[in-house]
């Protein structure tokens, strides 16, 4: 009883392959209600496939689970009624106006007053004055807003947003995230996929998926801590040369330029210290022990999983 009330998404062992290629492998995740859950991972890592399995658009080859308490295999109809899915590619009707698109969605979901609901959504989205414009004529940012409006219109309990901010300018992105937080405050659960690190920091919880496997999950702090990564911030000297020399050395799991400095990370403290000792002794560089960034953690995870899967 408790789990159905508190958990929006609960899936175990989801696996899906296309034409013999495994796209999602043995994926399990739990998302609590009312949480903004960030779903991170590189392109082609299986984020879209996972989201589609959650809302019944794809049938998993194996694995099971529930979405809002409904079985993802057998109760796709109920899931459709309570889940808003915003696709990666704009998928409303380009040849219908803003108003017509919203009224269409309102009618499909059987809202009592489709015309009024659409009007209210237009106002909420700040689309007044554009309601008669065809969707095709909207800019990328406005299209995203319209798409978000369309999938929140039927008051779903769960929103699945697939890279909603890809290709949108920073200002529109910020407004978009403010809206998502406002929706979460109203009690909505939001699963949002992205590959922007700054967006990950705006989520209550995150999960990182690469090559079809869920590699880590938790709050941002937990994910960084779990990584057990030791990171040095290096300044001064010829950093480019240093990068090439350190790259691939035993103990150094990742080297990456970070603004004007270089991040050098390793999981094994002793080996890392041994590897960088000669360079520290030279005195050409300033070495500062620091926290790894989320990006350091993810890239290191990805490098590691690449070794496992190739």
């Amino acid at each position: 009883m408790n789990s159905a009330a508190d958990i929006a998404i609960d899936v175990k062992g989801l696996t899906k392959s296309f034409g013999g290629r495994v796209v999602v492998r043995d994926l399990s995740m739990q998302v609590k209600r009312g949480v903004i859950y960030g779903f991170l991972g590189p392109n082609g890592s299986g984020k879209t496939t996972t989201i589609r399995m959650l809302c019944g658009l794809l049938t998993p080859d194996s694995g099971e689970g529930t979405c809002l308490g409904y079985d993802i295999r057998t109760q796709a109809d109920q899931i459709r009624n309570h889940v808003g899915y915003m696709t990666q590619r704009f998928s409303l009707y380009q040849d219908l106006s803003v108003r017509e698109n919203l009224e269409f969605v309102a009618r499909i979901y059987g809202l009592n007053a489709p015309v009024r609901s659409a009007q209210q959504m237009i106002e909420r989205l700040g689309l007044q004055g554009r309601e008669e414009q065809l969707a095709a004529q909207l800019s990328g940012g406005w299209k995203q807003r319209l798409a978000l409006g369309a999938c929140t219109l039927p008051s779903p309990q769960l929103l699945l947003l697939d890279e909603p901010t890809a290709g949108v300018d920073p200002k529109a992105r910020r407004e978009f995230w403010n809206e998502i937080h406002a929706l979460a405050n109203e009690g909505l659960t939001v699963l949002v996929s992205t590959h922007y690190m700054d967006e990950a920091e705006r989520c209550h919880e995150i999960a990182y998926i690469a090559y079809g496997e869920l590699l880590t999950h938790g709050t941002v702090e937990q994910v960084i801590e779990q990584s057990k990564l030791i990171t040095y911030d290096v300044n001064g000297g010829n950093l480019q040369e240093l990068l090439h020399e350190l790259d691939g050395k035993p103990g150094v799991d990742m080297v990456a330029p970070f603004g004007s400095s270089l991040h050098v990370s390793g999981r094994d403290e002793e080996k890392l210290e041994a590897a960088i000792k000669p360079y520290r002794a030279s005195g050409d560089f300033v070495w500062t022990r620091s926290e790894p960034s989320l990006e350091d953690v993810f890239i290191e995870l990805m490098n590691r999983s690449k070794d496992n899967f190739r």
């Binding site: 019944g56 658009l57 049938t59 889940v83 696709t87 590619r89 998928s91 059987g110």
Partner: protein, 380 residues
Amino acid sequence: MSWFSRIGKPGFFRRVKAMLVKEFLQLLRDRVSFAMIVVMPLLQLLLFGYAINTTPRNLPTAVLLQETSDVGRSILAALERTQYFKITHRLTSVEEFDRVLASGKVLFAIEIPAGFERALRRGDKPVLLVAADATDPVASGTALGSLSRIVQFALVNERMLPDQSEPLFEIRSHPRYNPAAVSALNIVPGLVGIILTMTMLVFTALSVTRELERGTMESLLSMPITPLEIMIGKICPYIIVGFIQASLIIGFGVLLFGVPILGSLLLLAALSTLFIAVNLAIGYTFSTVSQNQLQAIQMTFMFFLPNILLSGFMFPFAGMPVWAQWIGEALPLTHYLRIVRSIMLKGADFSDLQYDVAALFVLMLVAMTIAVTRFRRTLD
């Protein structure tokens, strides 16, 4: 000149080749289209090559035999030997005579009156009454022209009647429904069916593939709407479009070509609407089984061609071999042609058309069932 001078620009052939290779690769990758390029033309060539016959044989014929002597059987045997006529109905009353023609079950009805042989021997030149369904002049013309010679020959050889240059009897032929053999009367009702078939198929053939290609299908599938609801919602608007189109064609056919509407206009409108719905359902089915708009259009054309050639629009239906007639029975246009010709030219009523109406309903239900079951609610 400037156009030609471009050919000389450096790299012209290299770029053309790049384009050519790319197009060829794309063509090979689209398996379904490729199969259609190779298989369909051959299939259609064989199909139509064997099915189409412009001097039709085995035309269904009804006989009202009132003569009791052997002369009747001799005449019938002679008719069947020519292979033009195939006696399918033996009638017993004059009322039936009109009915079988109106319903389109036969193309000819022949009456051999009582006392025919006695009148022949007396030299009275008795009358052989031949009523022909002239709504399709091509079908009835050749057979009708040869009738007199056949019967005369049979009588002289089998009944030992004197061979005279003068015919022994009189054939009173009644080309019914289109006595002047005006081809417009035959063509215009047929065109109503052809034009409706073409436009209706294309309307719905693109409807699902368009959603797939524009990416709107993903949203639509994530919404609580069932395949049946999607289908009905997509078909209904075009029924109105089709109805307007049908009214225009029939209206102008009547105004410009003087084609009569002898039967009920209401019945014609109702059955035309049914025919429109059948074609929309078939187009929609193509849309659910094809992966892109090009495939859907190709399927439409592949379906359209037999509709023209095997439905009785271009060539007499009764003249086709039996297997081709079976294919024809599976095409909606075949049934609609009978309906529209019967209502407009023969003044047929609903009871004459029950079979064809039932066939249209069956075709529609089959198409819709395939469409709804083939419609995938997932993106698997």
